[in-house]
Symmetry: C2
Subunit: 401 residues, 2 copies
């Protein structure tokens, strides 16, 4: 018999996309089918050649580096933030982390006392509530309006009633693709300031805003320098999620605290990848590759969302950024279907996900772990032919319901 | 004004070696001297060419990988553990982490409830107590005997009185170089079993045991499979601390819990480095490089420790492994010296460290953050000429005290 492990382990849910991978594999094997996999939270393309070559060069940085991250990379990111967000963060006010996850994990430990609340705008990225729980904080969920847009009136009331210490959201949003407008950000900023809250703005999808619109950050709103913290990284923009690099920019005391903790939690990100990111963030080739990705995702969005909305029982807001579609499938709850001699009823987003897997050979991620059970998330970071095939299959399967 | 940050940030001490780097730099600049830097907690050599080349190949793994780590690398590590420790851990019972720090950080969160105690055998690696505090646990320090060896009688009593949940030590020890004997490990194992504790065995220096002795692990002791957890990694063995790879082997439920948490804390280590480690752990060249490192460290130890013990007021146990010397300098407390027109008295290990920096142009790390204030740590992972120069300088400076 082993000794006991901590209660928190039982409270944490494993990542929803991971368990799904196994199910896809076993279905394909058992029924000899090929499933169109739209579960990926990552680009289907990789880094450009110049970035890949820089990794080898960076391999020579084999000794411990600065815990806060490569100073040259931080200098480059300082320029990127200036250019893209329009505010100045010195390299001292930036820390490199082990992905955005690594940044959020330490930030929660820096900002929250055990028992304090973090407000999470739903729908949200699956890791947010778990990162709050892992810091012994309490996640508090803030509903969006019916169009999946942030609801400042509700937010103000909830912040008032619940003593929320940290507010957390992503824009462009994973999973909904909603991109917060300047007005919405200003409303949120006002509440953050009034209630003396921290706000963590996850802008990992900032490179993917459609229709020629420009990405807007809460960091650019007056008065936010003391309250707002940016998390971002190269994973989506340059197709390198497996390289585990992210960064955090914010008030100097927060970055100093994060760095102090990071010195004991993992010493920071791998140096060869940090070196390669110097190249990625300054490479014309890499910039063009990102542009090309955005164009592909936008084209896929146009086709897929139009197609989804033509299906009875499914309705999808038009994503303004990121690379997901997040349709409502609530109206299909209560329907029954038969598979491999068994009867099933669709009552939850997990049931709908299983229905699509079994009857349409299409894999999406159920909405529940994103905080909205009447929805399902599909990734648009795939080939156009997969988008077309998925649409046809979903349409046919739903029709037979 | 920014909102409040958590109390734990104030409780955590920044890594002792980092602040020292700055002080060395400013002394060198201000006084135009060259300081012999023996502070490094890392090899002064890097990976072999074949490993470096594998990093580029590994760069193609740019998408998310398994959170538990590369299955092929885990398979190789399973073989390494079999061969070197003599016990079988399946690849399922091994997880790759962001360095050993990354492993210990998650382990503490997996094993400790807030307020529970972790027993740390002193002297200890500076990060151990901080990793316990970061999990909201309480570090409890267990003194060694005068020869810096573990003291099972004391350990038994302390475990009895203090309800210690997790025991944590390194062997070969950083900073002392003590290598636990089979008898000592058996005594510890008995207590761990009796008191139903977890034990985390940090064996990162396992590749560096001197005098032809073989490294021994508590994992190989009967009954320990349910209680013992191994943390290790390639950083010291292959000279790649900047690549941030470590691993944990232990009971399946612990590895599963660690993996679940890692899925939200940072998604695991960089994939290119994991790929390169497949090569490192199976490369004859890399094995030879490690052998060569051990021979150099052993030769440096022989010269340096003999020399230190010839200095009045300094006494040093002979390290049996790792690459540090950890002499007692207690007898020099109370002595005074003059520098740049000012009078100083040596009252602590920090004072002695400053004395050496100023009067001997030698940098070591004070013993205090390792849990023993009457000591100082010197790294042996350096050129032989640095060892000789440091000895001469220390001898001359202490003589004038």
């Amino acid at each position: 018999m082993t000794p006991a492990i901590s209660k928190i382990v039982k409270e944490i849910q494993p990542s929803a996309t991971l368990s799904l991978k196994e199910e896809i594999g076993s279905l394909e094997k058992e029924y000899g089918v090929k499933i169109v996999d739209l579960t990926a939270g990552q680009p289907d393309t990789g880094p450009t050649e110049d970035v890949l070559e820089a990794l080898l060069e960076g391999g020579k940085l084999h000794q411990y580096g600065p815990v806060q991250g490569d100073p040259e990379l931080r200098g480059i990111l300082s320029e990127i933030i200036s250019k893209e967000i329009g505010v100045r963060y010195d390299s001292q006010d930036i820390a490199i982390t082990v992905g955005v996850k690594g940044g959020i994990d330490i930030l929660m430990r820096v900002l929250l006392e055990p028992g304090e609340k973090a407000g999470i705008i739903a729908p949200y990225w699956v890791t947010y509530p778990e990162s709050v729980r892992l810091a012994h904080g309490i996640p508090y969920f803030l509903e969006s309006d019916d169009a999946l847009r942030p609801d400042p009136a509700r937010l103000r009331k909830e912040a008032e009633d619940n003593n929320i210490k940290v507010l957390l959201y992503s824009s462009p949003s994973n999973p909904s693709g909603v991109v917060y407008t300047e007005d919405e950000l200003e409303e949120i900023a006002k509440i953050v300031k009034e209630k003396d809250m921290w706000v963590i703005s996850d802008e990992i999808y900032g490179g993917f805003v459609f229709n020629g619109r420009k990405h807007k950050s809460i960091l650019s709103i007056e008065g936010m320098r003391s309250n707002a913290i940016l998390v971002d990284g190269p994973s989506k923009r340059f197709g390198v999620p497996g390289w585990r690099i992210g960064y955090v920019a914010g008030p100097r005391e927060v970055i100093a605290a994060l760095t102090k903790l990071q010195g004991h939690t993992n010493s920071g990100a791998s140096r060869p990848e940090q070196y390669a990111m110097r190249v990625a963030y300054t490479s014309e080739k890499a910039r063009e590759a990102t542009d090309h990705m955005r164009q592909r995702y936008e084209r896929n969005r146009n086709i897929f969302v139009k197609g989804l909305n033509e299906i009875d029982g499914i309705s999808c807001i038009k994503p303004e950024g990121a690379f997901y579609a997040f349709p409502s499938i609530k109206k299909l709850f209560g329907h029954e279907y038969e598979f491999a001699g068994k009867e099933y009823m669709i009552k939850t987003s997990v049931d709908f996900r299983d229905f699509l897997l079994r009857k349409a050979q299409v894999a999406g991620v159920e909405g529940a772990p994103f905080g909205m059970d009447g929805y399902i998330r599909f990734s648009l970071a795939t080939k156009q032919e997969n988008i077309a095939k998925a649409l046809t299959n979903i349409k046919d399967a739903v029709k037979k319901l």
